[in-house]
């Protein structure tokens, strides 16, 4: 839509959490949760952000919305740097950026009715006049996410996990946002419920022309819903490509390991499994050079010395690995 065609652009985003230690709780070190990542998403597209726990994917999502203040870097949304906004401007901006959370139990206030959970933001932004109009709008929203509008008088504990997640989606949609961060929206749900929510998210995207940042640890889910996929390891993006590129020709050894470790529910598919050695190192003292080198089966001396750049290898496929020329 804008001149560069991107709705949101993240440049060199960093988030370091201080670690306080010792007698005076001095900051002795930092957890480098997100350590310089860049990507951009076009309007109406979905970028899947995938990685294991602690790789910084959730922190990335929250930094974009400034639910966490980033340490460094820019988040440019509709040509404005979100980091530079004043409180009032941020307040206005949040109408356009929303988030759906992982935990369907923790993300809804147990003491509020569905009507208030979904409708509060309408009142905050004065989008409705009076209770009647608010209820009408909340009813519409509930129907959009596949719930009955009579449910608005109920409390969260009267719903199942899948229904709660639908309420969470309705809340995110209430302000008609353009961009939604989906933070592991299905990983807490039962297998048979996951598909319902994934399909709903896809339908809503088409209907409202939404742009998603879809965060998940599950490659299969990400592959199904995303146009582009970014793989994160220890606060860095190691590979970024369109949905097919990541799966049909993964270039980074970590992506390859991740793919081979993801089980496929079919006994007819036989694959060579790559078993990585050791654990993910601590993001407090990440390894030198390429962060993956201590576990990489193809590591060379240079990998421990210099950090590979995320470079374009053609057809919008980016990879950060010394071995890929």
């Amino acid at each position: 839509m804008k001149k560069n065609g991107y709705l949101i652009k993240v440049e060199n985003l960093k988030k370091y959490f201080p670690i306080r230690k010792g007698v005076f709780s001095r900051v002795s070190n930092y957890v480098r949760a997100v350590d310089g990542i860049s990507f951009s998403i076009k309007k109406g597209e979905t970028l899947g952000l995938v990685g294991e726990s602690g790789c910084g994917k959730t922190t990335t999502g929250k930094c974009i919305l400034r639910l966490i203040e980033p340490t460094e870097g820019k988040v440019i949304f509709k040509d404005k740097n979100v980091g530079d906004l004043s409180n009032e401007e941020l307040h206005e901006m949040r109408r356009n950026m929303q988030i759906i959370f992982q935990d369907p139990y923790g993300s809804l206030n147990p003491r509020m009715t569905v009507r208030d959970i979904v409708g509060r933001s309408l009142s905050v932004y004065n989008l409705v006049q009076g209770e009647k109009q608010k209820e009408k709008r909340v009813g519409e929203l509930l129907e959009v996410v596949g719930l009955k509008k009579e449910y608005m008088r109920r409390y969260p504990h009267e719903f199942s996990g899948g229904q709660r997640q639908r309420i969470g989606i309705a809340r995110a949609l209430a302000l008609n946002p353009e961009f939604v961060v989906c933070d592991e929206p299905v990983s807490a749900l039962d297998v048979s419920i996951q598909a319902q929510v994934i399909n709903l998210l896809k339908e809503l995207q088409e209907k409202f022309n939404l742009t998603y940042l879809f965060i998940s640890h599950d490659l299969s889910v990400v592959r199904y819903i995303s146009d582009k996929v970014a793989v994160m390891y220890l606060g860095k993006i190691v590979e970024l490509a369109n949905w097919d590129g990541i799966y049909s020709s993964p270039l980074h050894p970590y992506t390859q390991a991740l793919l081979s470790a993801t089980p496929i529910p079919d006994t007819r598919v036989r694959r060579e499994r790559i078993i990585l050695q050791g654990d993910v190192p601590s993001p407090i003292n990440p390894p030198s050079g390429c962060r993956f080198h201590p576990r990489c089966p193809y590591a060379k001396p240079e990998c421990s010395q210099s950090e590979p750049e995320l470079k374009d290898v053609g057809r919008g496929h980016y990879v950060a690995c010394h071995l890929v020329k």
Partner: protein, 320 residues
């Protein structure tokens, strides 16, 4: 662990600072001239108003509040808690006379509460919903609900006045040769009365703590290994369940001193609690101040010890 202990120590010092601030405020709220707190009364009585004015200046009592606070603190650090209005003795020496009796009473009470309260709490938890459990629950509710003085009077009524088994009060029988039995017979009732509320608290707390641990996953693991039920309880659960109890015990100590005031009064026990009451009756503010200070510092030390003990027992803190 070193850093942890130093950290707790520093927090203790910060708390101590606030303690002294509160004390200083109280001190200044008290009616009367603060000069009486610094100069022995006999000197005060002989000196003329000019001398007092000079001393006041020397002591800096007409300086701003902040300066006065530090003067007061300096005196406190040097053991000068002022002089008793009643008889002119230094407050510290009056407290020294009485503190032994209070330690004897509160120490015994705490010990009783621990050695009785914790085991019945354990039994109650293991036999959850049994008659024993109901009795323990009922007992512990009564224990925290009964006024100390009513219980004390009731026991005196039954054991001293009706059954003539135990003395009504005092440290020991006056005139009789000192013996352990005599001492114990005087100690048993007040110590029990003082311990009842704590005992009940410990029993309830132990019960709930053990029940909490019983539901933990590691207990299931132990059972799945084939560990005997008794070992599950005493080896696996107890250590985990007792860790939070350390804090609870430490936090009960101030309440114990509070309870001692009434208990000592009911049983004519010549401890600090009664001294505090005497001080109030006689409007002996420096003395009252001194007693409060000493107790607060004792409590602070107890908390610090509890923190250290905590680290010793819990590896999660030790290896932080």
């Amino acid at each position: 662990m070193g850093a942890y202990i130093i950290r707790r120590l520093l927090i203790g010092l910060v708390v101590l600072f606030f303690v002294t601030v509160i004390l200083f405020i109280l001190m200044n709220l008290m009616p009367g001239d603060p000069i009486t707190a610094y100069i022995p009364p006999e000197v005060l009585a002989q000196a003329g108003p000019e001398y007092i004015e000079i001393r006041r200046e020397q002591l800096g009592l007409n300086k701003p509040v902040v300066v006065r606070y530090f003067i007061w603190l300096n005196e406190l650090v040097h053991g000068n808690m002022g002089y008793s209005v009643q008889n002119g003795e230094p407050v510290l020496s009056r407290i020294k006379e009485r503190i032994g009796a209070t330690f004897e009473l509160t120490g015994t009470a705490l010990l009783l509460a621990i050695i009785i309260g914790i085991p019945i709490g354990i039994i109650s938890a293991v036999k959850q919903y049994s008659i024993v459990d109901s009795l323990v629950t009922l007992f512990s509710f009564t224990g925290v609900s009964i006024p100390v003085f009513f219980l004390g009077l009731g026991l005196i009524y039954v054991f001293s006045l009706r059954l003539n088994l135990l003395p009504t009060g005092g440290l020991a029988t006056i005139g009789a040769p000192p013996s352990l039995l005599d001492k114990l017979s005087h100690l048993i009732m007040p110590a029990f009365v003082l311990s009842v509320a704590n005992l009940a608290q410990f029993a309830r707390y132990t019960r709930s703590s053990i029940l909490d641990e019983l539901g933990q996953d590691y207990v299931r693991t132990a059972r799945a290994k084939g560990v005997k039920e008794l070992r599950v309880l005493f080896y696996h659960i107890l250590r985990n369940g007792m860790i939070p109890l350390i804090t609870v015990i430490a936090l009960q100590i101030p309440l114990l001193f509070g309870g001692a005031v009434i208990t000592e009064q009911v049983f004519s026990w010549p401890g600090m609690g009664r001294l505090a009451l005497e001080a109030i009756m006689q409007r002996d503010y420096p003395l009252l101040m001194g007693i409060t200070t000493v107790i607060a510092i004792l409590v602070l030390i107890a908390n610090l010890l509890a923190d250290i003990l905590y680290a010793v027992v819990d590896p999660r803190i030790r290896y932080q």
